[in-house]
Every structure is written in C-alpha cells, then in structure tokens.
C-alpha cells in the first residue's frame, strides 16, 4: 500500500491532449517517487471555473462540484480529494464552504444530485497538490529524493492568484507566500524571494476574451522575472502556466520585447531533480523549451 492515498480530481485541462497535459505527466512521475497514490474520481466533471459565472448561477455551479464530491464518496470513501488545478481546487473548496454554511443550499444541492442518482453524506476535504506536498509529505521527505540538484538555475516563483487567494495555503500570506520559493530551494535551484510579481494576476480567462488587457499583465510578470535575473519561471497553476508561456510571441510583437523564457510546473522541476527523464518530466510539453532542465535530465 502506498504511503499516501487520495481521490484525484485532475480537471479538464489535465486530460490527454489538453493544455496542461504536461502538468499531469510530471505529477504522475513525482507521485511515484514520493509513494503517493492518486486514484481518479470515476466520471468526474468540470468545476465550472470562475469564468462560467454569467450562466452558472449559484446552485448549478455548486451542484457541479457536489457531483464530484458524491462520486468520490461513493467510489473512494474516506479519501481526501486532491486537485492539481488551481481553479478546480478553488471551485471545489468554495462549494464545500458554501454548502457547509447553508442548510438550504445543502438541501437544494442534494435534491438536484438525486436526479443523477447521487448523494452526499459527508463533506470531503479538498486539497491542492502543493498542500499535500508541504503538509502531508513535508520538505524534509521531498528533499531526500533529490538526486540531481538543479544547481545554479535561477527560478522566479510565480504563485499567481487562485492557489493563493481567497483560500491560499495555510500559514502563508496572501501578499508574499513563500512556499514556492522554498520548493525551488528544495530542488537545489536558486529562488528569487524579491520577485515582485509573484502574486500578480495573469489575466485569467481574459487572455481569451480580451487579450490586450491580459497580455499587459503578463508582460509585467515576465519583465520582472528577467529584471531579477531569472532564467525560468515556475508556477503551480495550469492557467498561469499557459497564459505566461504561450503569448510571449504576441507580446514581443506588440511591445517590441524579446521574451523567450520557459514557464514550468513545480512538479517538472521535482521530477528532473529526482533523476527522472525529460519525458517523465514532460519537458517536451513546453512551447518554450527549458534547455537547462533538458541538459540536467540527460546527464
């Protein structure tokens, strides 16, 4: 039996061929090393994300998340739900909070769930993967597995919004969370604690609907990373990763910049540091390749 077991909520963007499929590949390798068993919640559905608000209303949105709770309880009783995506985690946690605080909302949710033949008896704990790493596994244990420290690689820890607000990771401040820098340090790389854009918004869904507004923010996030001497950026959020990575070409055209900085997931750094291959770390999933990590992985 694995040391740690969880009900896993991968979310839409982590699926095969989707925008954060590289995240999932690296999380799977990372969990193997740390003896963490993730069992996918059967037939899980989308959390609705924050951007669905125009048509989601209140109850339909919570019912979507509650369906995942019910499926988890039915198929993986007693296990905490772990999400890797910031939006999935936030959406599920918000639903958990609202249903816990309102008997009416809970009763209405149960009535709607009945239509899908499901129910909730117990509220599950909703955890983000970084909470599992920090709280359940701990930095000491994480560090034990480092075989190839990422020596001399300077990395800007970009925490972003939704893994940080409104819930955040216990013991961290909203304005200056430190866990990501600590993770960079743990894999043997050089963190940049003074990186001042670490909790700046990447524009979220506005990167699709109003790219000019989002890209103005993304530009600041990248510029500050360069100003602080970073050679790559790391993030715990799939939308932060995509937004900060994939629009660099368009930003260069618009602003005359020469951005070309890799944007990685913490799990990719860990897999490389744990001695995993480039494939296991899904380094081939980057639009802007992280050559330094590829070299270390090939060593």
């Amino acid at each position: 039996m694995a040391k740690h077991e969880y009900a896993f909520y991968p979310g839409c963007s982590s699926q095969k061929g989707a925008s954060a499929s590289n995240y999932l590949t690296s999380v799977e390798s990372m969990c193997k090393t740390l003896d963490v068993k993730l069992t996918e919640i059967p037939d899980w559905n989308c959390c609705g994300a924050s951007i669905g608000y125009a048509e989601a209303g209140e109850l339909p949105r919570h019912v979507m998340n509650a369906r995942n709770f019910a499926l988890s309880e039915k198929n993986l009783p007693g296990q905490e739900i772990v999400a890797t995506c910031a939006a999935c985690w936030l959406g599920a946690r918000e639903t958990r909070e609202r249903l816990t605080h309102s008997d009416t909302l809970m009763a209405d949710t149960k009535e709607a769930l009945k239509e899908a033949g499901l129910t909730i008896n117990e509220m599950p704990e909703i955890r983000h993967m970084v909470e599992v790493l920090i709280e359940d596994i701990g930095f000491d244990e994480m560090k034990k597995h480092v075989k190839k420290p990422l020596e001399g690689v300077k990395i800007a820890g970009y925490v972003g919004c939704q893994t940080n607000r409104p819930f955040g990771v216990d013991g961290e401040s909203f304005e200056n969370p430190k866990y990501l820098d600590n993770m960079v340090e743990m894999v043997g790389a050089t963190p940049i604690p003074e990186y001042d854009m670490k909790v700046t918004c990447c524009g979220g869904a506005l990167a699709f609907s109003e790219p000019d507004k989002a890209q103005a923010q993304i530009k600041d996030i990248i510029e500050s990373a360069y100003d602080h001497g970073a050679e790559m950026i790391v993030t715990p959020c799939p939308l932060c990763q995509a937004n900060v990575e994939i629009y660099q070409g368009q930003i260069n055209q618009k602003y005359g910049t020469k951005f070309n900085i890799p944007v990685m997931y913490y799990s990719q750094l860990m897999v490389v540091a744990y001695g995993g291959s480039a494939k296991e770390a899904a380094l081939n999933g980057q639009l802007i390749r992280a050559r330094r990590l590829e070299e270390i992985a090939a060593k």
Partner: protein, 210 residues
C-alpha cells in the same frame, strides 16, 4: 413586460433591496465603507478598464442608479484574481458580488451585448456543461468565430503560431472537434442541472413574491 421591466417595477426605488434579494452575495453591499482598497487592488482597473470600479458600484447601488449599474461593462472586467476579497477590511466577498451583478444583468438581458467576456463566460459554461468536461478546441473556435466566418478566420490566423505550438507540444488536439473528452453520465448531469436551475428560479421568485 420584459424581465427587466418587471423587476424594476417590483423593486421600484429600492435598487439596494433588489440587489440584496436577487444577486449572489448581494446582501453584503451595504457593508461597504467606501475605502477604495478593492479598486486600488484590481489588476484591470489599473488599466482603466472599469467605468465604475467596485466601491463606486456599491455606492451607485445604494444611490439607486439601477440602469447605470446593470448596463455597465465594468464588472465584466473581473479576472477572478480575488485580490479585492482578501484585502477588503470589511470582508466583503467582492469578486462574488461582481460576478453576481454581472450574472443578474445577463439574466435580465440588459448586460452590454458585445462585451467579449460576457460572451466568453456563457460560451465556457455551455461548453463545460454540455458533456460535463471542457472541450478546449471547441471553446477557442467558438470564441474566434463569434462574429461570423470571415472574422473567425482572421482571428484564427492571429492565433496560428500559438495553436501550432500547442499542437506540437501535444497540448491541443485538433481531433477534439470530432468529440473529445466527455463524462459518461451526461444524462444524469443534464437532469441534475435542470433541477438545479428550477430550484434556483423558484427560490428567487419566492423572494419577489414575498
């Protein structure tokens, strides 16, 4: 009578009460003390995108500026970054109130029609709930082709390099156009959502009647 006129009649001269009863988290509006931290913390307000930033909207609600509030593009600039929520000294769930006012304006059919985030928001929810999981390819195509085929091709061309990069990295699958990822129990999801909308509608209607 349109839904909008009916609500305006019902809550005549008391827009604050209307927001409190009809908008998610609307009963928090009266708690605002006009400090402006929310507006100063908003990433898109820094770009002057908001005609009326949050604390201004709260005062306008109390002043009964119904039409101005419901028809503004302001709250559609919310990026859901939750900065306003964590900084508000009175603990107002501002992000949710912004989403709530936007949703209410959309429900009444008075939100600005051409506002791109309004369009994308509806598109996202329909995309996600149709099969239970988001189809990223159809979501992007739906956005680019919102103004017809010609405009769509032009928008698509602008995104060509991004799309090709994603396809090469196996993070965008062109075959999703044929189906893609779905939930198995789609029937259950549709029935569950239908019920949820029914319940929500009747709860809101009960408030209007009461």
């Amino acid at each position: 009578m349109s839904a909008n006129t009916a609500m305006a009649e019902k809550y005549r001269n008391n827009f604050l009460k209307e927001i409190e009863e009809q908008v998610e988290m609307g009963d928090w509006v009266k708690m605002c003390m006009q400090c402006g931290v929310c507006s100063g913390s908003c990433p898109t307000n820094f770009q002057s995108a908001w005609e009326h930033p949050p604390q201004e909207l709260f005062m306008m609600i109390r002043a009964g500026k119904r039409e101005e509030v419901l028809t503004t593009t302001s709250m559609w600039n919310c990026t859901s970054c939750y900065n306003c929520i964590v900084r508000c000294p009175r603990k107002l769930p501002i992000t949710h109130i912004m989403h709530g006012i936007a949703e209410y304006a959309h429900r009444l059919g008075v939100a600005p029609k051409m506002q791109p985030t309004r369009f994308f928001s509806g598109l996202f929810w329909k995309n996600a709930t149709k099969t239970g999981r988001v189809n990223e390819l159809k979501l992007s195509m739906g956005l680019y082709f919102k103004n017809g085929f010609g405009a769509g091709v032009k928008e698509g061309m602008k995104m060509k390099d991004v799309a090709l990069g994603l396809i090469k990295a196996k993070r965008l699958n062109p075959f999703e156009i044929l189906g893609g990822h779905t939930c198995k129990d789609q029937k259950g999801i549709q029935a569950m959502l239908k019920k949820a909308y029914e319940i929500e509608r009747s709860r809101k209607a009960a408030k209007t009647a009461g």
